[in-house]
Symmetry: C2
Subunit: 348 residues, 2 copies
Amino acid sequence: MAKVKLADVARAAKVHPGTASRALNPGQRGQVSADTVQRVVRAAERLGYVPNAQARALRTSRSHLVGIVVPDITNPLFPPIVRGAEHVLTAVGYTVLLTDTDNDRDRERRQIESLLGRGVDGFIIATALWDDPLLTDLAEEGVPVVLTNRCASGGRWPYVAGDDQAGVRLSVQHLTSLGHTSIVHLAGPQVVSTGRERARAFRAAAKEFGLTNGDARVSVCQSYSEADGRSAMEKVLAKGGAPFTAVVAGNDLIALGALDALAAAGLDCPSDVSVVGFNDMPFVGRIQPALTTVRLPLQRMGALAADLLINELDNDEKQDAPTRTLLGVDLVVRGSTAVAARPRGRRR
Amino acid sequence: MAKVKLADVARAAKVHPGTASRALNPGQRGQVSADTVQRVVRAAERLGYVPNAQARALRTSRSHLVGIVVPDITNPLFPPIVRGAEHVLTAVGYTVLLTDTDNDRDRERRQIESLLGRGVDGFIIATALWDDPLLTDLAEEGVPVVLTNRCASGGRWPYVAGDDQAGVRLSVQHLTSLGHTSIVHLAGPQVVSTGRERARAFRAAAKEFGLTNGDARVSVCQSYSEADGRSAMEKVLAKGGAPFTAVVAGNDLIALGALDALAAAGLDCPSDVSVVGFNDMPFVGRIQPALTTVRLPLQRMGALAADLLINELDNDEKQDAPTRTLLGVDLVVRGSTAVAARPRGRRR
DNA sequence: TCAGGGACCGCAACCGATTGCGCCGAATCT
DNA sequence: AGATTCGGCGCAATCGGTTGCGGTCCCTGA
């Protein structure tokens, strides 16, 4: 069965294609008599008419396509975000173009350009660097962009994410209330906002809860991964210095790596060292020990990012002050944190 | 900066747009002199020309868009598949339209129709039911489809997945070799191929390894979820019957649910009951007890599915015999399986 | 020298939907 | 009754590439 096109519907309803188009588009329906509208709509239904999105996009230069850019869809952090965004977007007639940049900047740029060639109306980007030339390029071309998960410097883009600062503060508060007086922060990469922000928040919280400088060390991981979490933890253990009894990880992956390093060093979690993660990835509550971590409303983040983008797309007026939303987070206390033991660490 | 279009390039190269088009398309390049090709290509580069995919698709009725349909991107099974497929597809100029059906048939149909309206060239579908009207409809419309993860009856579609039968056989073999003589299979839903196939394989393997009927029970879960796994396990425990010492779960999620039910019933895994899962989802090796499970090459599955689809799209000749590929699987032995204890179970 | 044959390239139609412009007939006003 | 307005709809251009057809020019062979 050949695709039925607008002209077919028009013929069936005995009107001109232009009229059929108006009858089918709620916005222009006022220009057509109710009677005609009904005839056209009926005909369209009877024939099973599905408008050709390509043609429409070509003419209107609105594709109703949205690109979602994630660094690695395999990282459990992102699927819920994608899902939340997708549900909102499809509900209002947008379609999602997903692209996984594989944490590769060149690939990311190529992908985004390809998507632009496809005429996407806007992007939801979860891969932003703190200083990101790609973003400024997009801004110059006037492409609507909403950032999620990570933000960028300049505060130029709408943005929705979890409240990193609050999450870290909750973690530190929890640990100090358990009697921990020397805590290590295994920070995420400092080129992304979450890495910077959580590290900043850690220092602030440490000060707030009375930890002195030497007792609130920060060690930076190259990436958010188990491998880098592990090696960062190993490095801290090897270096010695003041003994510590707790670790605040930049995210759950880093926490997992840290757990490995601790176990390898013969340290037990939580009796020797408490560990808290960030993100509450699926199943981290079932690992051994069950990970205490900060829960973000990921799906809601995605949904909100989509809302923001839709809003920006529909009101083509540019708003000068981009909305920036921080969603509340919870600390989920599980088995990886416990009352501080006598201070302990690897000494040289 | 306004988008540069083909006409601009043509003007810059002092040729007709038609000629510019031919010069830029490798397939037609032979019809243009080498000198002109170079002029056009240079001009295109200089101006930063990006062809408008919509216009091209409209004219050629080839969008280079592929729809990937998954039931729930939040299920860790799917991201690797999507990733594998996406990498292959983008490498040859296709773009991925992702849609998450939320396990909702109506939603799925709407989404697919919407994607068809967008002119997708083909689909990779991971949501197939065993008897799936949606698939036959697509087949009637002549839309290329490749199935992955699950297949459908009739053997009408190209298909790539893990070797379920081999995986289950490995599991049963492993358990019997540990001395288990009474095993329960918590099967997945029987409306999807993996549920049926694994159940069938379980019965066959049980027979092969000498388990009698009463010692190879099958209980079916409504869905692949922790909740249904748990309730199925609870039901088996409540019903009593012959004591069992091992469980082969339809997938990891079901296994997790079963673990919960066992723990709630005061049974220890693995000392009282061994459990083996299926899929080797991320992090199931870190839960307590570390789950013995069957590992599928998920990313490779996605990549292969993409290869199959591309092949079908490029050779518009319909091949009468669809390729069906089963990828080899491994049994990953971890802590949730152990030598059989004395048979035990809940007795009334 | 002239017919025949390519190689190259321009012309214009076309893909399918949208929309500014303007025509026509009927209702309203004076 | 004649002028005027307005609702409803048809016409045709347009979005940006692609491609069948045919024209021009040059080269080859007799």
